[in-house]
């Protein structure tokens, strides 16, 4: 079954990449005019896609700390896989938000002219630190295996030889040193991941003008959502990409991951209930209007069907009643991870799709001066392209790098 799923993902990624190229072309040639976000709904699918991918990355990374920092023996074999998943998700997130800018060529100003009073100003530095940490950590996690695969024939051997950067010592002492470095790096990574993803939540949470975002719970929900969705993605990846697919050892890892994800998902739903029920009960207009859009607006099905039914009820049933089956747990992980985009869309859009002042909707017309938003063709295609690119990056990296293979080095 693992091979079939892998093949489906390969085909989906290639098709998505090819079809999505048109979206990239539109973004480069026509630009923001081909988008449906604008002045009243200034952030759309790409911003939602960015927080979606960054959440997947943070979640997958925090799972890796279970291995390297907390040294949970049962999960030892998936450390590299979770780091690599975090890396490709981070790439997708940053690429998407980069081309969401009105002037992507000025992105360097984020570094040279950072405003540290802006949460967004902090993000660029936190991402840079996180990106470097991920690369270094992944290298130390793979180092002994890079040495081991250096003798392989062809491209893989050459790549392994190059990436080991001449550090070929794989003695017990050297590997213990690696493990200690990994522990330190992972320990730095925990507060860093909490800071950057809690930071993304705070980026929304601090906006007083949007009562739907303006809550102390927002950063917390971002973190728990990241853990649930990133953990789910990792569960899906581990279920079908290994290591040692088919073995009893592999099944135990997947089952354990499934249980963690179940707990995280339930906690996330609890926070969601807290946020929604409290706001709806008090029914202060601006926030209640946003929630009305989520629950009963034109896109009610995004919440009820995509998020609650496919993204929560079905996976919970799978995890509770079929929690011992690798296929069922993997499927549950995939469903949660994929549908989590609906959660992110329902964070970004409803806050923006309500009038800030009565009468604004009809006061003036023009492109972008509307509160009705659904992503344009360009937005969907570019989103699909970026996700597919990251997917291909994962699949190719998986083929070439020793991400699951652990050779016992003599």
């Amino acid at each position: 079954m693992s091979k079939t799923v892998q093949r489906i993902v390969w085909v989906a990624a290639i098709v998505g990449f090819v079809v999505g190229l048109y979206g990239l072309w539109l973004r480069v040639s026509v630009g923001h005019q081909a988008a449906n976000y604008g002045s009243y709904v200034p952030w759309g699918l790409w911003v939602a896609g960015y927080i979606y991918c960054i959440g997947l990355s943070a979640g997958a990374f925090l799972m890796s700390t279970l291995v390297y920092v907390f040294r949970i023996e049962r999960l030892k074999s998936i450390g590299k896989l979770s780091l690599f998943t975090a890396l490709v998700s981070l790439f997708a997130a940053l690429f998407m938000i980069w081309l969401d800018l009105g002037h992507p060529e000025r992105a360097y100003k984020l570094v040279l002219n950072t405003n540290f009073r802006s949460i967004m100003g902090w993000m660029i530095w936190l991402y840079a630190a996180y990106f470097i940490l991920l690369l270094v950590e992944l290298w130390f996690a793979m180092r002994a295996d890079l040495v081991a695969c250096s003798d392989d024939a062809g491209l893989r051997g050459k790549l392994c030889r190059f990436l080991s950067f001449g550090k070929t010592d794989t003695s017990e002492a050297a590997r213990t040193a690696d493990a200690n470095i990994l522990r330190v790096l992972g320990a730095i990574g925990v507060p860093l991941a909490v800071a950057f993803h809690g930071g993304v939540g705070a980026l929304f949470g601090v906006v007083g003008a949007r009562p739907y975002w303006n809550s102390g719970l927002t950063p917390i929900m971002f973190l728990v959502g990241a853990l649930a969705s990133g953990g789910a993605l990792l569960t899906f990846v581990v279920a079908f990409w290994g290591p040692k697919v088919g073995s009893e050892e592999h099944r135990k890892v997947v089952v354990f991951l499934g249980q963690i994800v179940l707990g995280l998902l339930l906690f996330d739903l609890l926070l969601e209930w807290a946020e929604y029920s409290i706001s709806l009960y008090s029914a202060v207009p601006a926030e209640a209007e946003s929630l009305r859009l989520v629950l009963f607006g034109d896109y009610w099905w995004v919440f009820w069907i995509v998020h609650l039914l496919i993204g929560a009820v079905v996976p919970i049933l799978l995890l509770v009643f079929r929690g011992r089956s690798v296929g069922a747990v993997g499927l549950a992980g995939a469903l949660i991870a994929i549908t989590f985009l609906s959660v992110r869309l329902n964070i970004v859009l409803p806050a923006l799709a309500v009038e800030e002042l009565e009468g604004l909707r009809t006061a003036f017309t023009g492109p972008g001066l509307t509160f009705a938003y659904s992503p344009s063709l360009m937005e969907w295609l570019f989103f699909i392209w970026t996700i597919s690119l990251a997917g291909l990056g994962f699949l190719i990296g998986y083929k070439l790098l020793p991400i699951v293979r652990t050779k016992e080095v003599a």
């Binding site: 200034p42 405003n115 003008a209 002042l357 006061a363 972008g368």
Partner: protein, 239 residues
């Protein structure tokens, strides 16, 4: 006698208020706008004069006139409320900018550096008045065979020439009302104020006790929008 007649013209008075303010150092000026909602008939001439003055492309608007209906048929009346940028004393749009592209000038006007703005649109989300819009580069002659000359006219916001032909800034930027700063600094009233046929708009320096606006904003029937946000707007409405 001619002097007295001149004094009676509110536009002339306001222009003199501005000229007095311009004599002072910039940080001693405090530009405010007062809009008399009882006089506004909802003609939207201010919106259009603003579009013309700043050569605003489709999708960018600095000063829409919001209409709301009060009561139910047959007892209905309408209220019109022009909404420029409030030039808040505590502008929520400023601290969120990640690259210092928007700031509060010493005279209180919230300005944008078009060459610095990266177009992330965070400030749009942070403004409680929806006063900021995003310029995606649309033109009015889209889908027509000929490019119109008016599409290529230079606009002079912030006292600089912005050439639309180059397809650079302000395309891809966030834009907003700046009280026609480029006109102000030449001693002229903002375009919306001069255009208002009912003289519902007043403009001047609130730090000058002799100015028209200083007298108007000390009245009890003055309100500001969303005071609860703590933004300290500098646009006042007479109700």
């Amino acid at each position: 006698m001619p002097d007295l007649l001149e004094k009676q013209n509110v536009f002339v008075q306001m222009q003199e208020d501005i000229k007095r303010a311009l004599q002072k150092p910039v940080d001693e000026r405090r530009w405010v706008m007062v809009i008399d909602l009882r006089k506004c008939v909802g003609c939207s001439a201010c919106t259009i004069s603003c579009v013309a003055e700043n050569k605003l492309p489709p999708g960018v608007v600095y000063r829409p006139v919001l209409e709301s209906e009060i009561g139910t048929y047959p007892n209905v009346t309408r209220r019109f409320m022009p909404r420029p940028c409030m030039q808040c004393d505590e502008p929520p749009c400023v601290p969120v900018c990640p690259v210092h592209a928007t700031w509060k000038r010493p005279d209180g006007i919230v300005a944008i550096d078009y060459e610095q703005c990266i177009g992330c649109r965070y400030c749009i989300t942070a403004c409680p008045y929806s006063a900021r819009t995003f310029d995606t580069g649309h033109t009015y002659d889209e889908g027509t065979p000929e490019q119109m000359v008016y599409e290529l006219l230079t606009n002079f916001e912030y006292g600089q020439g912005w050439d639309r032909e180059s397809e650079g800034s302000p395309i891809g930027n966030v834009r907003k009302c700046h009280f026609c700063l480029h006109r102000l600094e030449e001693g002229e009233l903002p375009a919306c104020v001069t255009t208002c046929m009912g003289v519902a708009n007043y403009f001047g320096d609130a730090n000058d006790p002799d100015s028209i606006v200083a007298k108007l904003i000390s009245r009890p029937n003055v309100i500001r929008l969303k005071e609860e946000m703590g933004t300290e707007p500098k646009v006042y409405y007479l109700v």
